[in-house]
Symmetry: C2
Subunit: 157 residues, 2 copies
Amino acid sequence: MPRRLPTSAELRIWRDFIETVEALRGVVAARLQAETGLSPGDYVVLLALSEAPQTRLRPSDLAVAIGWERSRLSHHLGRMERRGLIRREGFSGDSRGASVVLAEAGSTAFHSATVPHLTVVRELFVDALTPEQLGAVAEITAALRDQLPETLNRGAL
Amino acid sequence: MPRRLPTSAELRIWRDFIETVEALRGVVAARLQAETGLSPGDYVVLLALSEAPQTRLRPSDLAVAIGWERSRLSHHLGRMERRGLIRREGFSGDSRGASVVLAEAGSTAFHSATVPHLTVVRELFVDALTPEQLGAVAEITAALRDQLPETLNRGAL
DNA sequence: TCAGCCTAGTTGACACGTCAATCAGTATGG
DNA sequence: CCATACTGATTGACGTGTCAACTAGGCTGA
């Protein structure tokens, strides 16, 4: 039984919030793409691979590490492989398993993307907020996440 | 000249924030889809049409009203037209112009989606936050928007 | 008048995401 | 041994978004 509906003020906060975050995501993505040739998705994949032993991971492990569904990852890896950022190799031991390997081009791209990536986050997010607001963001994030179905509380939580 | 890079704490707040909002958007979209058969995009389009005189708008005006690029809207209208939610008609006066008309099915779908839509927003957003936090969201949204390129400060601002 | 420009709108190519189906290899119980 | 179930991974269909190109109708000034 629904308790009540949002007031128009609450609704406006919701819409502004969602639209602004979407715009922010879009701008960050566009700047990363322009400055480094990598999408945010590319970046997280390359980051996880860089940190992995031998810079290689099985797709399932990679998916867990970055909190993606396997199918999403598979599609993305296909695109990254076409661009030479990663390679797929067989996995000795379990012949249904595969292995994703960081390619030379991927490593290079990742390293030259790190600073631009962090700079964009600073300029558009960290510098936009006061330290108190940044703390409030952390609180709000946690509160919102708690309200989400548990299935989604994935990742480094 | 970059001033400094984000600390790892700041970076973690950023990542959690973006991931959580994305998850939230996904959950809202999935629930709307399941309960009403409409995507968030469908909903905003139908909302704008419902409020327009004669429930009809020229695509450009519609695009401005909801803050979308024309091409995005055009693609979306194509899909909505296939489903019978809207119709496209000619526009008398300027023969380049067209007109988007709310179809019967669109009107029905929109009206039966309103309450579920508001309920989802309440449950996953409004109810997750204290009134103070809701106020903080509004502040933070404004601060983030101010940092975005002006081109994007679109809509009812 | 008509060349050049602006505006309205659509289209095509492609990246990204989700879902359901599929395929192949491993494990397991009778 | 083998049917069955489970797991790792990919695939196809389709919705969604962006960008650049394109069509086509108005507008304006030499």
